[in-house]
């Protein structure tokens, strides 16, 4: 062997950080290379936005707010939620294939594998959100948000993505098959976004559903985003949204780490 190898002599903590950065690079490449999924990332939000605003705009009363403006916050949150499910699929795929054994036989920080998938979701959801907002502007979305409001929306959506991606990592780790993951994430996310303030004012819903819809986390998050975008009243939704997201993060990260350790440790 001709070449002399040079090893990084950083402290262990920095090496773990660099492991995570390498895995984020890997997962981000996956996002760009996986053409089918990338098409979904682009077109699914457009489809939802155009369909919902065209189908429901005449039927749903949203007061003074035009319906396209109203559902923008809902569609953004829904897109971010569905986007994060790719973490569950990616994690499940890694755990099933031989590649997890390869990573485990390396002197690397193993949890970096999950970190890579979770954090690269920010990148994917960023693309989706941008596509969505541009499409919205074309079909009549007229936000009143200031630059500061936009930054708050960005921060809130990043936090939401991280929380949901960790939650999805748990699903990916616990699932028996990749098909199971797809089904499970859909069944979890679809009702949560439909029975919320995302597309319809919950006060118009059937009474039993209304109690749930008005108090569940997706509603708080959608209300907070909507308030920032359109200047509707914020109420407690901002704090409640942050409390829910933080709660999910605090609970799901250790659970995911535990499940990962249990699955990979000898």
């Amino acid at each position: 062997m001709a070449t002399k190898l040079v090893f990084d002599k950083k402290p262990k903590f920095l090496l773990s950080l660099s492991d995570s950065l390498i895995m984020i690079g890997r997962s981000s490449r996956h996002i760009i290379r996986n053409t089918d999924q990338l098409l979904g990332t682009f077109f699914q939000p457009i489809m939802f936005l155009v369909l919902f605003s065209a189908v429901y705009s005449g039927a749903v009363r949203t007061g003074d707010i035009n319906y396209t403006n109203f559902i923008m916050a809902g569609i953004i949150v829904q897109t971010v939620a569905f986007g994060s499910t790719t973490t569950a699929i990616a994690v499940a795929n890694d755990m099933k294939r031989g590649i997890i054994d390869r990573f485990r036989s390396l002197p690397m920080s193993n949890l970096a594998v999950i970190n890579g998938h979770v954090i690269s979701d920010l990148f994917r959801n960023g693309i989706s959100a941008l596509v969505l907002i541009v499409t919205g502007l074309v079909i009549g979305f007229r936000p009143t948000a200031s630059l500061g409001d936009w930054l708050l929306v960005l921060g809130l959506l990043c936090l939401l993505t991280l929380a949901l991606s960790w939650l999805n990592a748990i699903i990916g780790l616990a699932a028996k098959s990749v098909e199971g993951v797809q089904w499970l994430t859909f069944v979890l996310i679809f009702p949560l976004t439909m029975a919320s303030s995302a597309f319809i004012d919950p006060s118009t819903m059937t009474s039993w559903l209304r109690g749930f819809a008005e108090n569940q986390p997706v509603t708080h998050i959608v209300d907070a985003v909507r308030s920032l975008l359109l200047g509707t009243p914020m109420g407690n939704s901002g704090w409640l949204a942050i409390a829910w997201i933080t709660g999910v993060l605090v609970v799901s990260i250790p659970i995911a780490a535990y499940l990962f350790r249990r699955k990979t440790q000898v």
């Binding site: 062997m1 001709a2 070449t3 190898l5 040079v6 090893f7 990084d8 950083k10 090496l15 660099s18 492991d19 390498i22 690079g25 890997r26 490449r29 996956h30 290379r33 996986n34 294939r97 031989g98 590649i99 054994d101 390869r102 990573f103 485990r104 036989s105 390396l106 002197p107 690397m108 000898v266």
Partner: protein, 321 residues
């Protein structure tokens, strides 16, 4: 490479899954710069042994040390000195060959420039330069295995585990893989190879450990194992019945087997040169006419058959779970 110390030591290794005992006390030791083949049928415990040795799996009893590091107590130290090529190609499908190599090099904590340099060297060595920038999903089975092996060599680990590196490859790719493995041996790596192909163990390994049902049932060089099964045999096919009878008579008690129908007389021999010559002289003296002669050396198939009482079938994927 002058040091001939023991690099890998496995003592009384035991592993069960519930009531199912997979390893019932396996002992192995591999000297620096040599290749040991772990030979056995499916379900013998080969992959379990390799997974334990490469820190991927725990065990219930015994001890495993690699370069002096205990796999249970110092898994990180072990991971620094091993490279593993498993049965299923453990590479990233959506990355290119070069990206796979550099990523794994970086995860071994090579510096970026060092990982890149080493990746180029391996692409060259494994004949993957042309395919270096293609996604792995476009690679053939043989190319994928080569890349997989290259990836496990990225940080030039002194100890290499090859878990059935040629299973499922076509004959040409298999021979290409054998060449590569032989080169690794020449470079002084210490290698554990598992295989269910007797020919592979015979071709590549310095020593062979035969394992079946979670136990070592034989150990030695290929030649030693063959000797266990018996001596070489000389098969003489005679031209006509008269010659056949004459040959039987003259060779007398040395005959171990006869085949009337095909007029074949088999005798045991010790020294191929001397004994064959003597047999031919004896036959010539009796005017027995020969059709053909055949010296049969025991193969590892014979070894396996006589050790386990069953022939190792080549259609490996069959009944085993």
């Amino acid at each position: 490479m002058a040091k001939k110390d023991v690099v890998i030591k496995v003592e009384n290794l035991q592993k069960s899954y519930g009531k199912n005992e997979v390893l019932k006390g396996v002992d192995l030791s591999i000297q620096r710069g040599t290749m040991l083949a772990l030979l056995g049928p499916n379900g013998a415990g080969k992959t379990t042994t390799v997974r334990i040795m490469s820190t991927l799996l725990g065990y219930d009893g015994g001890a495993v040390t690699i370069e002096g590091h205990d796999v249970k107590r110092e898994p990180d130290a072990v991971r620094h000195v091993i490279g593993l090529t498993g049965q299923s190609a453990a590479v990233d499908e959506l990355l290119t060959g070069r990206e796979n190599l550099i990523m794994m090099g970086r995860l071994y904590h090579l510096t970026r420039s060092s990982a890149k340099e080493r990746a180029e060297e391996l692409l060259e060595q494994f004949d993957l330069v042309k395919a270096a920038d293609r996604k792995l999903s476009t690679y053939s089975g043989g190319m994928r295995r080569r890349l997989d092996l290259a990836v496990s060599l990225i940080a030039t680990p002194p100890v290499i585990f090859l878990d059935e590196p040629t299973t499922g490859l076509d004959p040409r790719s298999r021979i290409a893989m054998w060449d590569i493995i032989n080169d690794l041996k020449k470079q002084g790596s210490t290698i554990l190879l598992t295989t269910q192909y007797l020919e592979e163990a015979d071709q590549l390994a310095d020593r062979i450990v035969v394992i079946d049902g979670g136990k070592v049932i034989a150990e030695g060089t290929a030649a030693e194992l063959k000797r266990k099964v018996g001596e070489d045999r000389l098969e003489l096919t005679l031209a006509d019945d008269k010659s056949f009878k004459a040959a039987k008579d003259i060779l007398g008690k040395e005959v171990v087997d006869t085949d009337e129908e095909n007029r074949v007389v088999t005798v045991m021999i010790n020294d191929t040169n001397k004994d064959v010559k003597r047999a031919l002289e004896l036959l010539d003296g009796k005017k027995a006419k020969l059709l053909s002669i055949n010296v049969h050396k025991p193969t590892l198939d014979d070894v396996f058959l006589s050790l386990t009482g069953k022939l190792k079938a080549d259609d490996e994927s069959g009944e085993e779970q």
